[in-house]
């Protein structure tokens, strides 16, 4: 019993528990950053939170956008995000991890994606957040279409800079 109590108090045990606090969602509805942040603050023993929020820009190549549409591969997207989080956990010592990605039609300034991680110290949290976004932009089956104010639509081309960002990991 004494050994069990020691294990339960140990950081290792809390890390085991932390595996269960991944929060992954692919959804049409908006998310509340304050609520996401408050969940991350509950991570046991961690001293750093880093979050990223992506929003819809109102301009693309100088043209004003009416909004964007995000298509995905429903049977695969959640699985790809789960693999992404598992890869991040194998590289960095993390407490809580949250990834929320929206799909469907979004207007300018709407929120697209939230990534948040906790760790004991800031460097792992910064690096893990960057890793998650860089690899998400290479490996998770989501595609943006930009809708212009004249009613025309155009699929966004993958950027070389994003490929390079993912390749550095």
């Amino acid at each position: 019993m004494r050994y069990l109590a020691m294990v339960m108090k140990s950081r290792f045990y809390h890390r085991l528990l932390a595996v269960n606090v991944d929060r992954i969602s692919v959804q049409t509805e908006d998310f509340d950053v304050a609520e996401c942040y408050s969940v991350l603050r509950e991570a046991e023993g961690d001293g750093a939170i880093v979050t990223f929020t992506g929003i819809v820009r109102e301009l693309a190549q100088e043209a004003r956008l009416a909004g964007i549409e995000l298509e995905h591969y429903p049977q695969m997207t959640h699985l790809a995000l789960e693999k992404l989080v598992a890869d991040a956990r194998s590289r960095f010592t993390l407490g809580a991890v949250t990834i929320i990605h929206r799909v469907g039609k979004l207007a300018a300034h709407e929120q697209i994606v939230f990534v948040g991680v906790t760790s004991r110290h800031r460097q792992a949290a910064f690096d893990a957040c960057q890793f998650l976004m860089d690899i998400l932009k290479r490996d998770v089956p989501l595609w943006k279409k930009e809708w212009h104010e004249d009613g025309s639509g155009q699929w966004v081309a993958a950027k070389d800079s994003d490929k390079k960002a993912a390749a550095k990991w």
Partner: protein, 82 residues
């Protein structure tokens, strides 16, 4: 039979989101791509060599993957989420 799926600009340009077809033993995704390019005139210009990703049963893979009956293969344009 296998199921082949297309997404985003591939779906729009090919005019189909999925199709089913029979394949022979040992067929790889590269073989499947060659077969589809011979059957669908615009395929080669839409799913251009080295400008697509492929998934087998909802996991990213490469073109050497060997297919089995009941598999779901997807041809994916380079992704642009985030």
């Amino acid at each position: 039979m296998i199921t082949v799926k297309f997404f985003a600009q591939f779906r729009e340009l090919l005019g189909t989101e999925s199709l089913e077809l029979a394949i022979g033993d040992g067929t790889t995704i590269a073989d499947l791509r060659t077969l589809l390019a011979s059957e669908i005139s615009e395929f080669d210009s839409v799913v251009r060599p080295n400008e697509f990703l492929c998934a087998l049963n909802h996991t990213l893979t490469d073109q050497h993957a060997v297919l089995s009956d009941g598999d779901e293969v997807a041809f994916l344009p380079p992704v642009t989420g985030g």
